[in-house]
Symmetry: D2
């Protein structure tokens, strides 16, 4: 039987990890709804009535009666989020709003396999307080990177996939592993999951259980070079620029809504190994940029595309 083995470091810094202080005491409000006259006035009225002050606001509309998107950062709203949601009900109902309220740092789980470059980058940026997150746990199907978790004083949970003798068993083992991961996510009260080059394909069930909460980094400029070995594909095609893409994980592999993309030039002197080395820098960069945007509630998904506020 598989059991969840939890390697607790002596010093779990999750609760101590500092985050961007701007984020800590303000309320973030994300709204998506059909565009009608009066929305901004209604929402800003709601904020004012409840003692809030808008310190940042961005809106974007696809046109009247088409979709409208809004992000507010508000100081001075001291009510519980559930209370706020209730108070907003009359407005959110009237305008058919999809509302997301949040406050403070997100609890982020980092999933890894054996590559450490994205993991290190996330942990170092966390230490420099670049993200609005705390990282209570690192989850992996391999034990290789346990030492990194320990170094940074973060719990490491090893969720291996037991070797299977046949396809049926393989599926079963995979499901067991995902159940272990789910238990771990629950235990650590995780808000967002980031796949720092986690080399397993997540099941549809798992992905659906965390809608718009799982960020993956793919080592190509999607939609080019989906699937395996994108750098080899890029080399053989002879492209002059390679890239990486951070996107929300969906059931369709490498097809979820794109959050950030980045590129770097390659030349004829570059081997596939050079592509991989150059690519690592781009992977880290797009990945951390996506994490930052998501953790600050700056991303809204609409019809498979993302609105990413500044």
């Amino acid at each position: 039987m598989l059991t969840l083995t939890c390697h607790r470091s002596k010093r779990n810094t999750a609760d101590e990890q500092k985050t961007d202080s701007k984020m800590m005491h303000s309320t973030r409000i994300l709204i998506s709804c059909p565009d009608k006259a009066g929305i901004v006035h209604a929402v800003s009225g709601f904020v004012a009535e409840n003692g809030g002050n808008i310190i940042d606001s961005q809106q974007y509309s696809l046109g009247l009666n088409a979709q409208f998107f809004m992000r507010l950062v508000v100081d001075g709203l001291n009510q519980e989020l559930s209370k706020l949601e209730e108070l907003l009900k009359p407005i959110s109902t009237k305008y058919k709003m999809d509302v997301r309220l949040s406050r403070g740092a997100k609890r982020m789980a980092v999933m890894v396999s054996r590559y450490d470059h994205c993991l290190y980058d996330v942990l170092l940026k966390q230490q420099y307080h670049e993200f609005n997150t705390v990282i209570p746990v690192i989850i992996s199907n391999h034990a290789d990177l346990k030492h990194v978790a320990e170094k940074f004083g973060i719990d490491f949970v090893h969720c291996p996939i037991i070797e299977a003798n046949n396809d049926k068993e393989k599926l079963a083992n995979k499901l067991k592993q995902e159940n272990n991961i789910e238990a771990c996510l629950k235990k650590y009260s995780i808000d967002m999951i980031v796949m720092a080059r986690y080399m397993q394909i997540l099941s549809a069930n798992f992905v659906q259980a965390h809608p718009s909460q799982i960020i993956n980094v793919h080592h190509s400029f999607l939609p080019a070079f989906k699937g395996a070995n994108p750098y080899h594909q890029a080399y053989s095609k002879g492209v002059k620029i390679i890239g990486a893409t951070a996107h929300y994980a969906t059931e369709d592999l490498d097809m979820g809504p794109i959050i950030t993309q980045g590129v770097i030039e390659v030349g004829h002197r570059d081997t596939v190994d050079d592509y991989i080395a150059k690519g690592r820098d781009i992977e880290k960069w797009v990945f951390s940029k996506a994490i930052k945007a998501h953790a600050e509630d700056k991303v809204i998904i609409h019809e498979g595309r993302t609105i990413v506020f500044d």
Copy 2:
């Protein structure tokens, strides 16, 4: 005696020049004021009361009691701008707002000397309706580019600087030329002036008469390589990236608020001529980006820096 010679093309397309239709029927409101609770609610209330619908809005604040910036694009406000300004008075007074209202395309004068690359780029982008402008006139201290103006059916006004025998005369001739330019700007009801590699230094008087209305492009990555021959300076310093900067013209040469910047890599094989060639592409790019932003009223200047909304 200097006389303003106006070479009118047969077909003055200024009034026919099409512009981005999104811009034509909406009102753009730019606000800068100390940040206080309630501003957004007050402004959005004003919009709603006067029959408007906010179709785009961006805000940015340096913090409560520090400066607050807002750009609104509003449909359905059919009042004259002067009437709107009056209606907004109670709010703009209360919050000590610096307000800029505008509607429709800006009337842009392009100033050139002998280089044609930025001029062509602006005219072609105008033809592709990339700017929210009409271009009634091209003004130059040389006659060389008259043929380009004619080709595009735009008036060309030659304002030469008469050769001087001494410094006093030199200054006088320069002032006369600027007076001629001023007369031309007035005649064509110009809203914004862009210096497409215009190789004369404008007088303080001239610049002050058009605050935040003159855009210059400098062929370096300011503040590096101010003044003359920036590409030669860059070459001799051995930098690996060169750039260009579009900025508002102020009395301090090459020191006005920066709107856009762009760069391109250079290598040891590049000569100064290669720098100049590569630079032309960057100059065009930053220049047109700045023109686009300004013409859509997306730029606010605050303490020597610019807020450039998306």
Copy 3:
């Protein structure tokens, strides 16, 4: 019957068009062969014996016995190219070399349809002597851009495709048009053909008749978004970066060896029209970069990929 109508401008500047003087009096030698010890010594010996001085040289090897690539720029070789080729025979035979010798400017035909942005960019860069080319003729399936050719004093040849009543006729008309183009290329002694957003698919016959001599610009970051409407495809996929690709035309549409690629960021505020506008700048940039590299004999194709020397 279709006839080739040649609209000769009064002033055909092709022969007067200045080009980069570095290129004019030197001989360019491009070599591709299996890598063996002694190649560089043999070739540099050949150069020295024949009175030449190597002023630039780049080599690149995929490893011993794998392919070796070399580009030399040599001064002082005054022999006819055919004579030089003969003199080089013992070496080129011994090492199984694929050799390309050239000198002076290439004669370039620009093919267009109705979009003028790439055409203007090429003509202006030609005027600034950025390319090692002369442009004796612009060829188009439409007459729309004749005025641009006239403006720049370049012959314009209109090769329309006659409307067809059925598929068979359609094919026949297409072939007739291509025959007309071929006649035109011959008449103007064309060395290289560039498709400045020429909106017709060239037949396999045509492409094969000009191996590695036709450069196309595709408005996407190939291999992403092949075929029609790449900007619409990019928009619907929600990518955050769009691009353009200059490549050699081959029978496989949008699949020929890539020479240059470029990208630009797009955001959620950008419409498809904004993509198209931003894309134009990138198209121009990658296109002119590819033209420059090819005209200076800096590109070698090997197994579907390009070596592009600096």
Copy 4:
């Protein structure tokens, strides 16, 4: 009294650190001399006579009689480097060559103070075998980053600067510290020194003792924003792009020959802290790119500028 305290980790991996295998068995030859006919032939003849095979070669010339630069990578030269230098004497004397011969990985010392981002980046890239280096030692004026050295199994040498009571003492203490550093460099047989945000200004003596062997990273786009607090300077100037520069350390602070530069866009929403965070990524990138180029002997300095071969 100051003493050199050497914290040896249990596992000193310097000798085990793997490097790019391409580099290990080949000889790198860097040549700089006045350009004359016959150089390439002479050098390639020398290589062939001594049993070598050129596997990579790049040349660049500023013109006949001006300076010529060449980099060769040669397989099959099994002689000691000193022997090779002797064998090359007739040619190097004849052509007045400045020759640099090297083989295998460079022994690199990393100097740090308290910032860890560049240090981690270098160590991780070393682990991924991206550099042609081994890292036997990390030297610091503070003890803060000892734990990082230990984590990566690299010796950490703490060379503190003793607090001084007056200027004379201050200078003396500084010299003592540099003497300690020199002793350390000698002990570890260091070939190249990289300042991974080492926050002390090196004395002229120290710098002169290691000509073209010390690489520094400055957190601005030099020559803009030299000296202290470049991100603050950039913010107050309102630039739209910030950058970083890796350069050789010379006596003139922040003025040595530039090896690599990189930039990133900033917007009005970015605070100085955001500049610093974004800047860290650029610093790492330009720094590691410069280390890679130098360690592979791809950089030649000429008149204050660098030739950086591909």
